[in-house]
Amino acid sequence: MITAMDKIASTREGFIAGLLEAAAADPKICLVFADSLKAARATPFTEKYPDRWFDVGICEQNAAAFSAGLASTGLKPFFNTYAGFITMRACEQVRSFAAYPHLNVKFIGLNGGIYGGEREGVTHMVFEDFGIMRSIAGMEIVVPADAGQARKATVAFAQREGPGYMRLGSGREPVIYDDSVPFEFGKARVVREYGTDVAIFAIGPILKRAILAADALAREGIKTTLVEVHTLKPLDVNTITGVLRQTRAAVTLEDHNINGGLGSAVAEVIAEQEPATLIRLGLRDVFAESGDAELLFDHYGMGTPHVCDAVKQLMRRK
């Protein structure tokens, strides 16, 4: 359980801090909004670079197409609004006019998953974005776990050529990493290495729960290896198969429908390359509802006890 004692920081603000860093070195970086400037907490950027941002109003398809137009001239637009409106409403513009011509448009999705939509309800959440974006050729996908990582991931992301999608949260994400921890694009990170009983793969701020689970299991003598897969695409298959070879059992945890996201990606690796048993934790093909994010996670089977139970189930199958 995440408690009030935990330090909270905003991945949205982490993104803007990272973009300010990147933009200082690269005059081609600019921001595009769909009346989302305030939601993006982007004022530090728009004040510093008053001519390097564009707001087209509440129309995400137009914003995505407009961004493609900017990028066709060599600019590096970051289109920043609610994740669901980018990946669902503007899906075709993302796919056909940014990804297909391999343009340098970065899509920054706020309010991803339950962490984003708490209290707003399902229209403002998105649990499908990983699956949608993963199926678009050439699309790179990064999901930072906390605000500090969002800052560093943004700096790294800005260096990448071509289309990309970064999912951020609501602004109330638990701090997971010390500020000294670097972010390496494309490289899954081993966060806990207690042993090889079962692997746990997690993505995004929900990683916090996986850490609590791994630690709790270790206290019971169950030794897991916990891996943060912050870059969902390209997937770090080497690290994942390396861990699976040791454990032959894996749990995935994601703030997403179990179809199409990290669980599916790991299942593909298991099926094609490294056989293992698998339990996917996430929304089980249902819609969530309004409520406090932490309570929703517990309610929909993404709590620390659920991770622990899944690991134990896999232990019994061994």
Partner: protein, 272 residues
Amino acid sequence: MRPEVPLLTAQARQLRRDVFSMIHHCGDGHPGAALSIADLITALYFKVLRVDPKNPEWPARDRFILSKGHACPVYYAALARRDFFPVEWLPTLRKLGSPLQGHPVMKKTPGVDMTTGSLGHGIPIGAGMAAAGRLAKLDYFTYVITGDGELNEGIVWEAAQSAAHMKLGRLIAFVDNNGWQSGGYIKDVSGLQNIAAPFAAFGWHTQEIDGHDFTQILDAIELAQAETERPSLIVAHTIKGKGIPFTENDNSWHKRVPTKAELASALDHLKD
């Protein structure tokens, strides 16, 4: 009459011959739409656009987006006749390995500034290009040709609003107003008749011309270029299938392949 009109008229005939030949050889395509915009394309590529076929990526070039991407045979013909690539490429249209895709694709075809195909995207993407030009302090114009049926798409109106609000005076969009869409007359299928009015309401500079009259086309472009604050819309009244007697205003030529006899008849009619 402007002195360049006879040459442009001959050039447009050449493009129409190319269009019919390409679609005949390819076995697929949209002749009606391509013939409808042949004169607009000719005016742009043989008179107006500041482009360099030897340097198609020249940053200061004028941009062009064929929003109604299905009309691309005439676009490819113009690029070939302007020496962006060899005319010998034209018969490869839509064939495996060809740089000439079924709808335009940037980075595959020299001179194509933006990928298009699914309808409605020329104006929003063109707005991005125009905004980028202003940021870079380059004085290029961004031209778009959109269909009239295509205006059904909501994204057109999203961009109509934002482009005017952003005062993108160097964005110039033509509507190829031939009155048809895939399923029939626009007045029957979807309804919009006075196309200029909603654009004007959003704050665009609007004009209406005969889209087959080069003097009117060139005059309208000069007026649009002189407009510095408002994006410009030029409603070009056209005839679908224009230039070949048996295709004119016959919507069966929306997507249809000419037979050998039809091709011969068309080429005979279009000969210089």
